[in-house]
Symmetry: C2
Subunit: 391 residues, 2 copies
């Protein structure tokens, strides 16, 4: 909102406008977030339209990271703009004034299509049946390995991805490679029995074994290859695929690396489905420049397409983009900095569900999977996350 | 489809595969189109899924220009892959074999959401009422001036654009500039009574007069400014808007110019809604590079969002992209080459609806509006379009 020109009629209005303008600036400053005032405005608008609303839902609808939303919400509570009730965040009378008189909000309806949840496509019976099968298999997944930025998409998400590939003509008769597949998108894809060939490269043997068991049981064919993507693809995977699908680590170098391996698989041209986190503009801009420099065009970008299980603090919702490539060229950055934990080391605190003891994960113990409590407990819940400052 | 490796069991299959592969190559070569084999595959897939289907619908679903689709369809008819019935294009038995045995198509359902037609948003009652008003006003539009690439979006399209702006938080309390508005998107936007300020710059006085009449009659405020966008914006429009909306000429220079004028209006940061034609990859890539170089990020891109009236040959459906800008900088190319007619001069043939005489438009007579038949007829129908080769 650009504040320009005449400031209304009376003195009262001038004061209120100035007061709210200063308040907005202060909140943005205190929250210290890349998107500044716009993010604060977005959060207030979403609460105004959907209150009472949970912090997680605010994050989904604003496409802002959950910790940012939580921080802004706390500051807004202190400023008496918001109050927290059992059912979620609500605007106070002051907050309502702020929303209506200053931000000029008045209408509360959401126009997002309820049939498709804004994705633009829906599952028919055939894909619904596939989803039901995927749900069963997804329960057998191992625990996430956060050191390699694992974070599992919901079975619904992976099935919608397969449906989107079908709808756009990128599934029937096509050779498809999954560049990393902790999301198990190869499962619904294989269950369609539409692809000419499906292959998965992943560094995590646990994921590959699950996919192999699945293939055996369901009578489908998925080639699995254990491979560290920091190294070039094996020769027999090169230049033989029509389509690749990836949900890489959410760093610029992670994106460049995974897409480059995808390009090795595609050769000079092909289609890439990229799932990626909503990012602050500066980072977003480097990412889009990297994408176009590799020779990919963004032919479609659907926000809030992907939802994830478990670690909702890290990734609650991301977009999917369909990239069309011609004269593709690989572009690999610093392969040592691809995981977010390496860029910004993170300590996670887990609570033992048996005795309640708090454990640190991220220094000596690297993965929650390696954690065993002194009481013998093996189930934990993440309660806090902390970024370590880089030296 | 990459054709690799083993070619099946028997001799018959080898021959068929080879035959169809040669056929696909030949059709793509004869059609001489930028997207090559993929475009031909896309056309066959859309016919397979939706037959019988009109050429216009094929163009919409494949996002290919109508003349290209018509050309490929004619070649496919000659090759006995397609037949034309009263109800549209259908595959022959040979075509079905081609689709099922070679392209490996088998499933025919469309997963595009029928509620929102793939747009991801729907109009509620409030916006439906607005649409009904816009429909009435749209009937009063002048004839399109094709020398400045006019082509009117449907009232539904312009109302959906306003709805999208609302849904994304870019309407309430915002200052919005329409950089060119032959689509009359300012009308539904103003009817919401949500914006802080609405302004329109356009070179066509007829459009501005209609908007002025509308504002007077409907009691809304839209500032209209007659302006040739090849010149910088008037000083009092600079750096005062939060959001711009544009559907520029579909040339790289047209896009750069219109977005740059938008940046003058926004200042360092802001939101842009860009409607633009689905283009062949090479051109698309220059366009996306131009967008990111100006400092805009594509935060969302919805294909087939916009539909146009009348000149369906030129533009049947285009996408809308929501761009978010930070540290924006203008980037103006060759302002003399912004209109497609100047890049590739086009002759249009119009038939008088009274006497049937055919008239040429594009050389001496520049606009269909200037055309009067010797019989006195003033209503014409475009029947053919021809590109002149540039010297």
């Amino acid at each position: 909102m650009k504040i320009i020109g005449k400031i209304g009629k009376g003195k009262v209005e001038v004061n209120e406008k100035t007061k709210f303008s200063i308040l907005l600036n202060n909140v943005a400053k205190k929250a210290d977030i890349a998107e500044g005032k716009r993010a604060v405005e977005d959060i207030i608008r979403v609460i105004y339209r959907h209150q009472p609303i949970s912090t997680k839902k605010i994050a989904q609808k604003t496409r802002l990271p959950l910790p940012i939303v939580a921080k802004v919400r706390t500051i807004l509570e202190r400023e008496k703009i918001l109050k927290r009730t059992e059912r979620g965040a609500e605007l106070t009378d002051l907050g309502k004034e702020f929303a209506e008189n200053f931000l000029k909000l008045k209408y509360k309806k959401s126009l997002t299509c309820k049939t498709c949840n804004g994705r633009g496509i829906v599952l028919d019976e055939f894909f619904e049946d596939i989803l039901n099968k995927v749900r069963v298999w997804a329960k057998r997944r191992p625990l996430v390995d956060t050191t390699i930025d694992q974070s599992f998409a919901t079975p619904e998400t992976s099935t919608y991805r397969a449906a989107l590939m079908y709808e756009r003509g990128d599934l029937e008769g096509k050779r498809i490679l999954f560049v990393g597949d902790d999301d198990l998108t190869s499962l619904p894809t294989a269950l369609t029995n539409m692809a000419e060939e499906i292959a998965v490269v992943d560094i995590d043997e646990r994921i590959l074994k699950l996919i192999e068991k699945f293939s055996q049981k369901e009578g489908v064919k998925i080639k699995t290859i254990k491979h560290d993507l920091r190294n070039p693809l094996p020769q027999d995977l090169k230049e033989r695929f029509d389509v690749i699908s990836t949900d890489p680590p959410y760093t610029v170098d992670g994106l460049k690396l995974f897409l480059s391996r995808g390009i090795e698989a595609l050769g000079k041209e092909g289609i890439a489905y990229l799932s990626y986190s909503h990012k602050p503009i500066d980072e977003w801009l480097s990412i889009q420049k990297a994408i176009t420099n590799m020779g990919f065009v963004i032919s479609e970008l659907i926000p809030n397409f992907n939802y994830y299980e478990g670690s909702e603090i890290i990734a609650n919702t991301t977009f999917i983009a369909r990239l069309v490539g011609k004269n593709l060229k690989i572009n690999i950055g610093d392969t040592e900095k691809i995981y977010t934990g390496l860029v910004k080391p993170v300590i996670r605190y887990y609570k033992c569900l048996k005795c309640g003891k708090i454990h640190k994960v991220g220094e000596e113990v690297k993965k929650v999977e390696d954690l065993v409590c002194e009481c013998g407990g093996k189930k934990f819940k993440m309660i806090k996350r902390e970024k370590l400052k880089n030296e």
